[in-house]
């Protein structure tokens, strides 16, 4: 390996990153920008779900019940209707996400302890929102009912506090309030830090498209020197973001950083190496920037979103997809970032993931080098 060759490629590539506006933005600015954007819009708590009310009972109890349910920020009473047909239309038009129907005899049944004569209808096309409404109404209905039950029992002389005798003490470690943003921000690192992979794929394809590759292949440079020279500058650029993003995460989003910063940097380098090698494989196989670009979306971007356990837990994936997720550097890195930010664990626990990243990086680079021929045809 000639360090002169390697350094020449690295220097040239760095000059390109600094001078080409598109590359500069993509590699150095976009990761932080997208992280900010996503943490603001993805980590929203469901609130203000519009619901419709159809009250057949029209009693003081039912009005009281509705009042309790729509108090607070969670559910908004969008409209009170007179018929099921109206509910159907509102749901079809997407004006409401759920409807509460209070059956005739609701208060009578409740006072006689015959149960809750309620119906809830939710929009099954958005079950997250609908499910939220159901949970909310369920909780309120239960406490409403148990209050009534308690007063009834008291009248009969029986001591009774609640329908819930079991004291359920739930604690969440590492993120006590279960704020989505706290774990989403470290998780998203594995997506946004992967952006330079696109540039790696494009830079190889660009040399081929612009015919500078022919000139380069005629020089004594070896393919390993060329490929490493292509990836190292982007790893360095990625490191800039590795330094910036934790600061933003801590200062802006109040994400704790409980681990060791050096471990984080070290493992981030391994991740960048593995992730960017994926871009390198694409760059080696694709003849043009356009196909390199399209393929990057398919093999780097979308699986990075859906199969690395950031939004959807790996444990719940089907067997085959779980296997695939093992080959995505993002899967391991998401565990690492959550570990160093939130759990505060170190290399003693994280070493298997580090080894996996190193293995993936070497395997991807090796594959790229194997298929990269210093020939035109």
């Amino acid at each position: 390996m000639s360090y002169r060759h390697l350094w020449a490629i690295i220097r040239k590539e760095i000059q390109h990153i600094l001078r080409d506006r598109g590359t500069f933005m993509l590699v150095l600015v976009t990761p932080t920008l997208v992280l900010l954007l996503m943490s603001y819009s993805l980590a929203v708590d469901i609130q203000h779900v519009p619901i419709a009310l159809l009250d057949f009972d029209q009693s003081a109890t039912s009005r009281d019940f509705v009042h309790q349910i729509t108090a607070g920020e969670d559910l908004d009473l969008y409209v009170t209707v007179d018929s099921i047909a109206e509910i159907e239309e509102l749901l079809t038009r997407g004006k409401i996400k759920a409807a509460l129907i209070i059956d005739p005899g609701f208060s009578e049944d409740l006072l006689a302890l015959r149960g809750l004569s309620l119906q809830i209808i939710i929009d099954g096309t958005e079950p997250e929102t609908g499910g939220f409404a159901v949970d909310h109404i369920g909780w309120r209905a239960e406490s409403f009912a148990s209050n009534i039950l308690a007063s009834q029992m008291q009248a009969r002389g029986i001591q009774f506090d609640s329908l819930q005798p079991i004291d359920l003490r739930i604690r969440a470690w590492y993120n006590p309030s279960l704020t989505p943003r706290i774990d989403l921000v470290p998780g998203l690192l594995s997506i946004v830090l992967g952006f330079p992979a696109f540039s790696v794929a494009l830079t190889l394809a660009r040399e081929r498209e612009h015919r500078t590759m022919e000139q380069l292949l005629a020089t004594p440079i070896t393919r390993i020197e060329l490929l490493l020279g292509k990836i190292i500058p982007y790893i360095l650029a990625g490191l800039v973001n590795v330094l910036i993003i934790p600061v933003i995460a801590m200062a802006w989003f109040q994400v704790p950083f409980n681990g060791n910063f050096l471990v984080f940097i070290l493992l981030s380098i391994l991740f960048l190496f593995a992730e960017l090698s994926m871009g390198m494989i694409i760059g080696v196989f694709m003849k043009s920037q356009s196909s390199a670009l399209a393929l990057s979306f398919l093999v780097v971007m979308f699986p990075g979103f859906f199969l690395t356990g950031i939004f959807f837990p790996i444990a719940a994936l089907p067997e085959l997809a779980r296997m695939e997720s093992l080959f995505l550097p993002g899967t391991h890195y998401a565990i690492i970032t959550r570990g160093v930010f939130l759990t505060g664990i170190g290399l003693d626990i994280l070493w298997p993931y580090a080894i996996m990243l190193l293995f993936l990086g070497l395997a991807f680079t090796g594959t790229a080098a194997l298929f990269f021929k210093k020939k035109l045809a």
Binding site: S2, R4, H5, W7, A8, R11, K12, Q15, H16, R19, D20, H210, R211, T212, E214, Q215, L216, L217, A218, T219, P220, I221, T222, K373, K374, K375, L376, A377
Partner: protein
């Protein structure tokens, strides 16, 4: 041919169904300025790329400067300077940065780079532009910079694929002055060109047509091989003159150069009179008529015509 520096034996290269090179045999001596001419698609680029070690060589052999390129192409790469037909420089890098980049690629130590770059810049007349981005250079300057990039490591072999295509005449002339200097210094140069006047400047010329070397000799010998002489005629109405002359016996072919006609005849002495007479008969004024020696271009066209007739 006892001390051939580059020896090509039975080189054949096919792309999908198309045969680009068909059993090419060629030997080139050390220090030659070898011109490779032929129409587009004849195989010039394929041959040069093979010599640069850029193509896999499943059939045939190339031994160049002692390296067996068909077996291991990498060894030759430090020995050559290769300038691709569409040489692209790194547009975002300045002239100087491009030079340094290729200097590093060819393992030229920094001290030597510092020594050589100023002279290369002045010899490529780029000294005033050394900090300009390569993307902002004119076509001729780009070509000269490209040549400078391939010269930094003083390669014993220089492979140039149509280096003057798309370059203005002044730059072309300058380019050839540079090549001649390199030739005098003893560099072995193989240059392909579509311009026949450039072929005349080479010490030896190979005519390549349909993947085969059809003729390979010094320009003078190739010119003499065409088996005829040329009469140059200048008239005002060259279209009509051409019509008049074409049917005459003994006239092999007529090529027009602006208002001048170059008439290839089997014997110039005999035909000079006949041509003059028939033009006068048709009341065409003759501004100039004389016997000239054939140019590469005529030689080239007539050889290819003959090849086509044989097929």
């Amino acid at each position: 041919m006892e001390d051939s520096y580059i020896q090509i034996t039975d080189l054949t290269k096919t792309f999908k169904e198309k045969t680009a090179l068909d059993h090419v045999n060629l030997s080139i001596h050390k220090g030659e300025l070898f011109g490779l001419v032929g129409p587009d698609g004849a195989g010039k680029t394929t041959l040069l790329r093979s010599l640069a070690g850029l193509l896999s060589i499943p059939e045939g052999k190339i031994i160049s400067a002692g390296c067996e390129i068909h077996k291991n192409a990498e060894a030759i790469k430090s020995q050559i300077g290769y300038m691709a037909q569409e040489f692209s420089l790194y547009g975002k890098l300045s002239v100087l940065e491009n030079l340094r980049f290729f200097g590093d690629m060819y393992d030229v130590p920094s001290s030597l780079q510092k020594e050589r770059i100023p002279s290369l810049l002045s010899f490529a007349q780029l000294t005033d532009f050394q900090n300009r981005r390569a993307a902002k250079l004119s076509g001729g300057m780009k070509k000269k910079l490209a040549l400078a990039c391939t010269l930094l490591h003083r390669p014993p072999i220089l492979l140039l694929d149509e280096p003057t295509t798309g370059v203005d005449p002044v730059s072309r002339r300058e380019f050839w002055v540079i090549l001649n200097n390199l030739h005098l210094e003893g560099t072995t140069i193989i240059v392909s060109t579509p311009y026949m006047d450039e072929a005349d400047r080479c010490s030896r010329v190979g005519l390549i047509y349909q993947g085969k070397i059809v003729e390979c000799d010094s320009p003078a010998v190739i010119r003499s091989k065409i088996g005829g002489e040329v009469v140059k005629v200048v008239t005002h109405d060259w279209q009509k003159a051409r019509e008049v002359l074409l049917p005459l016996k003994g006239i092999l072919e007529i090529q027009s150069y602006g208002e001048a006609l170059h008439i290839l005849v089997d014997s110039a002495e005999k035909h000079l009179r006949i041509i003059e007479k028939s033009l006068q008969k048709h009341h065409l004024d003759i501004l100039e008529i004389r016997v000239i020696s054939p140019r590469m271009e005529e030689a080239f066209i007539s050889i290819i015509r003959k090849m086509d007739q044989v097929n």
